[in-house]
């Protein structure tokens, strides 16, 4: 079904959000061509950041325009500093920092959507901020569906 994914992303006039297979190796050129923003989720430890960095390189090869990192499960100011320092050193722009949040684990344990379990949880607040930023920059680029 992978070849169909590219056609779906290409042809959809509504906003598309694709949850990719883990690791970018499966992201085909056919799909990447139609993606305007790739968000790479990384955690604040060295191995995860190294993986994110490799994904950035791959995304660049595939020609994706906007590639950003989401620093997830950030527990302490020190975590955040180290992620930001790594990101700056390796030229990986950060879209947002999502704090570590017990609500994520608790929602999962209950089999619930995070946004329903903790609509005001800190992680959800960070994702709301990310959505605002994405919508603003999309509007600046010419709106929904624009290339």
């Amino acid at each position: 079904m992978r070849s169909v994914l590219g056609g779906l992303v290409e042809g959809a006039s509504r906003t598309t959000i694709v949850d990719l297979e883990a690791g970018l190796e499966h992201l085909s050129r056919g799909t990447a061509r139609y993606v305007d923003t790739l968000l790479i989720v990384g955690e604040p430890y060295f191995k995860s950041l190294e993986t994110a960095s490799r994904s950035f390189a791959l995304a660049k090869e595939l020609g994706i325009g906007h590639v950003r990192m989401i620093a997830n499960k950030v527990r302490t100011p020190r975590d955040e500093d180290s992620v930001r320092e790594y990101a700056t050193r390796h030229d990986l722009p950060i879209a947002t920092v999502v704090p570590y949040d017990d609500a994520v684990v608790e929602a999962d344990e209950r089999g619930m959507a995070l946004i329903e379990y903790g609509p005001a949880a800190p992680s959800v607040a960070a994702i709301r901020g990310l959505a605002d930023a994405l919508l603003t920059s999309s509007a600046a680029r010419g709106g929904q569906g624009g290339h």
Binding site: L8, R14, D19, I40, V41, A131
Partner: protein, 111 residues
């Protein structure tokens, strides 16, 4: 907007993808959340019963057509407009938000 979310397994990409889809739909934009992971869990994070979200593995073949690339490789492409396809095979999660699950654990595994 055409957004893709990647990352290592366990990094939290599915939770972020599902929540982001919900939030953007709340902003008034129609959204399709597409689960391309071979271990599909996006249904849970957008807030729909996983069992309600069947995969595309069993879709009627007349929805797809085979295309041959200039290099001779063949692959399946949509035979109908993407929006029609999403309306027909997507699961309505709530207002303005539709979920599409590409495939189950075996999808893509055999080539």
């Amino acid at each position: 907007m055409k957004i893709a979310i990647g990352g290592k397994g366990g990094a939290g990409k599915t939770t972020i993808a599902g929540t982001l889809a919900r939030v953007i739909a709340e902003h008034g934009q129609p959204v399709v959340a597409i689960d391309d992971d071979s271990n599909p869990n996006l249904a849970l994070t957008v807030g729909v019963d996983r069992n309600a979200a069947s995969t595309l593995d069993g879709i009627p073949r007349d929805m797809l057509t085979e295309r041959t690339d200039p290099d001779g490789s063949k692959h399946l492409v949509l035979a109908v407009p993407a929006e029609d396809f999403i309306d027909r095979f997507g699961v309505a999660v709530r207002d303005r938000l539709t979920l599409l699950v590409m495939g189950g654990p075996n999808h893509g595994g055999s080539g």
